[in-house]
């Protein structure tokens, strides 16, 4: 039995010191819904677990002049119960809600989903589309990092050994803005995305898109932020021509592998179909036509 120590520091400084001082592998614990499974399978063998949930501010949501700050370890169930986030960022809420079961929702966090760095992570395409900023803390202090710069490959991130995410910042929304996320799975619950797609848009009074961010999940080694999809939307209404171009841009960006969840050809096709559906929901929401959940 190798010795495994545990600490639940109550300050950022104490947590950073523990991470920096570890001789072997140190793992940050938020909800543990990935970490505990990986430890049990023997895929990670940490020397120390640093439980960050007792650090002030790391769990909870605050609104500041229309912008939101979500604590990195806030459980999915808490995010989903937040009325302000449901109104401003329904795509992020519905994406996070797709992770696992009710039981998993009681623990899983945005930071865990991002730092587990699975290309199929459901909340991550929504965070990319939202332009979320991760507030990263470490020995050198605090830095703000666009979320799309955190994952670097399957299971790999750009965070240093002594770094972890303290919170996420979501910008204030202009009028007529909204977002949406859909994933495709062969059933309705408890599965991992074959393809995921997140889109966030701002429209003008005539329904013409003035700003967009689009992302695809499970079609590359990391979630992709796809500028070509956004470029197709900006300056246009969501008519048949725009939808066809968006579909083509999504298919062109998708670089999937074939595995048990689907062939590369299938995933590429589904990326285009999902992009059309997600754009329709995001545009409707931004125009005030629908605010309901998509699943």
């Amino acid at each position: 039995m190798t010795s495994l120590s545990y600490a639940a520091p109550t300050s950022v400084d104490a947590a950073v010191k523990l991470l920096a001082g570890a001789g072997g592998v140190a793992k940050v614990l938020s909800g543990g819904t990935d970490l505990l499974v990986q430890m049990r399978a023997g895929r990670v063998k940490p020397e120390i677990i640093v439980d960050t949930k007792k650090i002030p501010g790391i769990i909870g949501i605050r609104e500041e002049n229309g912008a939101f700050v979500i604590g990195a370890g806030t459980p999915g169930a808490v995010v989903e119960a937040h009325a302000g986030l449901n109104k401003a960022w329904p795509g992020i809420v519905e994406a996070l809600d797709l992770i696992g079961s009710t039981q998993v929702q009681g623990r899983c966090s945005l930071a865990g989903n991002l730092c587990n760095a699975s290309p199929a992570a459901d909340s991550v395409p929504a965070l990319y589309a939202a332009g979320a900023i991760a507030v990263v803390v470490g020995s050198k202090g605090k830095r703000e990092v666009p979320v799309e710069q955190i994952p670097t490959g399957p299971g790999r991130t750009s965070l240093g050994k002594d770094e972890f995410i303290l919170e996420f910042k979501l910008p204030a929304r202009p009028a007529n803005s909204s977002d949406a996320y859909l994933r495709f799975i062969p059933r309705t619950e408890m599965d991992i995305a074959v393809v995921g797609c997140g889109i966030s848009v701002t429209l003008d009074a005539n329904g013409v898109c003035t700003a967009a961010r689009c992302s695809l999940g499970a079609v590359a080694p990391t979630v992709l932020l796809v500028k070509e999809m956004a470029d197709v939307l900006v300056g246009h209404k969501l008519d048949a021509d725009t939808l066809a171009k968006l579909d083509a841009a999504a298919q062109a960006a998708a670089k999937p592998i074939s595995d048990k969840r689907g062939t590369a050809e299938y995933r590429t096709k589904v990326a285009g179909v999902l992009a059309r559906r997600v754009a329709a929901i995001a545009f409707d929401r931004a125009a005030g036509k629908a605010t309901g959940k998509t699943h």
Partner: protein
């Protein structure tokens, strides 16, 4: 390897235990505390047989470290009945024969308790989605859902 000393509350009573870091809350409940109602099915958070409440939130105890129980309030299946009186959820599971082998039943009952605490009047669809993380290989789920909907009605004070 030194063990951690954990002070917590289990089913309303103060409790303390010693555990190693890698022991899950499920390991601790079953092997240290001696509460064997919560079951280990998958040990990966997929089956829900180990469901417990932590400060009222439904979780898989196989995905929680024992040391994380410090200062928390844990509710297990052993804390659902009131003395010798079965909880209405337990009573309705019996009446509807919502079990065969019974392995998933503690988790289903704890998960149903969490559902009805939060939403006393769920639709059948809401109940099915809420319980999607509790796998049962015997019943085909229909009897479970009938028991849940019936228990909800009883707990709302409606005569059934």
């Amino acid at each position: 390897m030194s063990k951690s000393h954990v002070t917590t509350t289990i089913n309303g009573e103060a409790a303390e235990f010693l555990c190693e870091t890698q022991q899950t809350l499920l390991d601790v409940l079953r092997d240290v505390v001696g509460l064997t109602g919560a079951k280990e099915g998958c040990a990966s958070g997929d089956c829900g047989a180990c469901s417990v409440l932590i400060d009222g939130t439904l979780v898989c105890s196989c995905l929680v470290l024992g040391v994380e129980a410090e200062g928390k309030s844990i509710t297990t299946i052993e804390g659902i009945a009131q003395g010798d009186h079965l909880h209405p959820i337990q009573q309705k599971f019996l009446e509807h024969a919502a079990l065969q082998c019974g392995f998933c039943t503690p988790g289903l009952i704890v998960a149903t308790k969490a559902l009805l605490d939060e939403n006393p009047n769920p639709t059948e669809t809401e109940a099915r989605y809420w319980l999607a993380g509790n796998l049962c290989r015997c019943t085909g789920y229909d009897k479970v859902i009938r028991a849940v909907m019936d228990a909800a009605a009883v707990m709302r004070g409606e005569t059934v």
